[in-house]
């Protein structure tokens, strides 16, 4: 009802909603503010729209499990290594507590979900990073799960897909976390030697050690519109160079122009694009 109203009398409705929102502190459970167009949007509308802002098409964070639902045919997903847990190898202060906190909050054991399933009938291995779990940071578990998933693709000769979103390496695992960059990259080298296509999908935000390893190594690299993708985060760069960054810096469109992204694909078209790419690599329904 409210949605329809908004759509029909857009300007008017918007204004009154904003007023409502500010004056009466309307329940934040139902409303949110789009970080791109800054308009108030009805959460349910956003959720029903694959977390794309209905007003400006901005791609908000899509929860990892829903990403799998979006891309993988219903009922075909088999998860790998669900019970791999991070250990506090360095005895880093507070790390166990933090892990437990995130486990409770997300109901996941770490920052990536891996598994296999079908995309319009075509087999694929898929890894979805989860920024809800410690910013999608990569520690030993993320590195190991992605490596094992790539191995699965090699052994079963099926295309490999990673949907990245990450704050980078997980500092609580120190050098071990850094080494996951090499570990995953070298498994991708094996994948490449076996001529198995690897499609890397970059979503907001993809930064640090993930950008500097598997995210940038796709045979084909796809990004969601406006996703922030970079090695250094924009705040770190601004502190280093003591300047504000230009508009659009490190966004998907910028990376496309700079030659690092093949295609920018709307979330709604993503499954079909994956299907077309896999098909063009000669794979057929099994």
């Amino acid at each position: 009802m409210i949605k329809k109203l908004l759509n029909k009398n857009k300007e008017y409705a918007n204004l009154s909603m904003v007023n409502n929102f500010q004056n009466n502190s309307l329940d934040e459970k139902f409303w949110m503010n789009c970080p791109e167009c800054k308009k108030n949007i009805f959460k349910k509308d956003v959720e029903e729209n694959l977390y794309i802002c209905p007003k400006c098409d901005y791609h908000l964070k899509l929860p990892a499990r829903q990403r799998i639902d979006l891309l993988i045919d219903t009922g075909t997903f088999t998860e790998f290594d669900k019970n791999l847990y991070s250990k506090n190898i360095l005895n880093f202060p507070e790390y166990e507590n933090k892990l437990n906190l995130y486990k409770d909050k997300t109901n996941e054991n770490d920052a990536v979900i891996t598994g296999t399933g079908k995309i319009n009938g075509l087999n694929a291995t898929i890894c979805v990073m989860n920024t809800d779990f410690m910013m999608g940071s990569m520690g030993a578990v993320v590195g190991e799960k992605i490596t094992r998933a790539a191995t699965y693709s090699i052994e079963n000769k099926i295309p490999f897909i990673i949907i990245s979103s990450s704050g980078g390496a997980r500092m609580q695992e120190g050098i071990i976390s850094l080494m996951q960059m090499a570990k995953t990259a070298q498994e991708l080298r094996r994948l490449s030697e076996y001529k198995i296509p690897y499609i890397s999908i970059l979503t907001d935000p993809t930064t640090g050690g993930v950008t500097a390893s598997f995210a940038m190594l796709g045979d084909i690299i796809i990004a969601e519109p406006k996703a922030l993708i970079g090695f250094a985060g924009p705040r770190v760069i601004e502190q280093t160079i003591k300047q504000t960054l230009p508009d659009g810096f490190q966004r998907a469109e910028f990376l496309l122009e700079k030659g690092f992204v093949d295609i920018i694909v709307n979330r709604k078209d993503m499954k079909n694009m994956l299907f077309r790419i896999i098909k063009m690599h000669g794979y057929q329904e099994a």
Binding site: L84, I89, L90, F92, P93, G139, A140, V141, G143, E144, T147, A169, M171, E173, G174, I175, I176, S177, L178, M179, Q180, M181, A182, K183, A185, Q186, E187, L188, R189, R190, S192, E193, G208, G209, T211, A212, S213, F214, A215, M216, L217, I229, G230, F231, A232, V236, I237, T240, I241, L245, F249, Q250, K258, G259, F260
Partner: protein, 311 residues
Amino acid sequence: MMQIDKPILELESKIQELKKLSQDNNIDLSTEIDILTRKLENMKTQIYENLTPWQKVNLTRSNDRPTSKDYILNICSDFIELHGDRCFRDDLSIIGGIGLIDDICVTIIGHQKGKTVKENIARNFGMPHPEGYRKALRLMKQADKFNRPIITFIDTPGAYCGIGAEERGQGEAIARNLLEMSSLGVPIISIVIGEGGSGGALALGVCNKLAMLEHSIYSVISPEGLSSILWKDVSKASQAASIMKLTSNDLYELEVVDKIIKEPLGGAQKDVKSTSESIKKYIIEQIRSYQNLTREEIIDDRYKKFRKIGY
């Protein structure tokens, strides 16, 4: 460095004073001098064998710490520096070329810091742009073609953070090196000689054998970076350094590093020649140990090294 050296320097000058006093006034102070000299030696050992992680961080960053070039010139009987990525620019923060170690032809690549402000500006303080990594990769592929072992020296605060670096794909350049280095059929021996800073260090470090100079460090983030994330306070870097396991001993225990190369008392800068000798000895040993392996075995050896880290 100042702080670390301070008590040593004070004691050294005291001994000098006594010697002068003894000479000028013709009095015998040899017992006192002997005692103090022994005390000095003990103090040196005491200090340098018990450096805190933060002291090591500072030691690796000090201007008199030997750089890649210092070691290359000491280790090689001949060295020809090669330049450029064949694409955008020659990045001086990475040095690379071909050289002879005894009679072995090798390719050597290293991060290159400067020793003066001017040099450091030219070398960008040892922080590469993407073209630096691409130059390194070009030289490594060339080494692979001609079947030359590859030596890399790691010494960088990290890959450079800046507009140009992002525009030209810092992430892609590092990632590409990780993947391509894992496919080279020649042995890669990496030695952390100073600061091993994050992905910018690892981009030269996908190796068969990893050694660290005794006082060098290697970490996923700088102590300052960690401190500012954990406590929103850069000044607690020394505290951060103490929890992040970045010394050669820490990495040896974590089985990331294969070998710790001892430094002379007081650090590598006190005796570049002897440090170079130790490095050279290690390199030759390692190259010999790979001599009878096939390309596939060498690749597989490197693969296994990283495959097992973490899980």
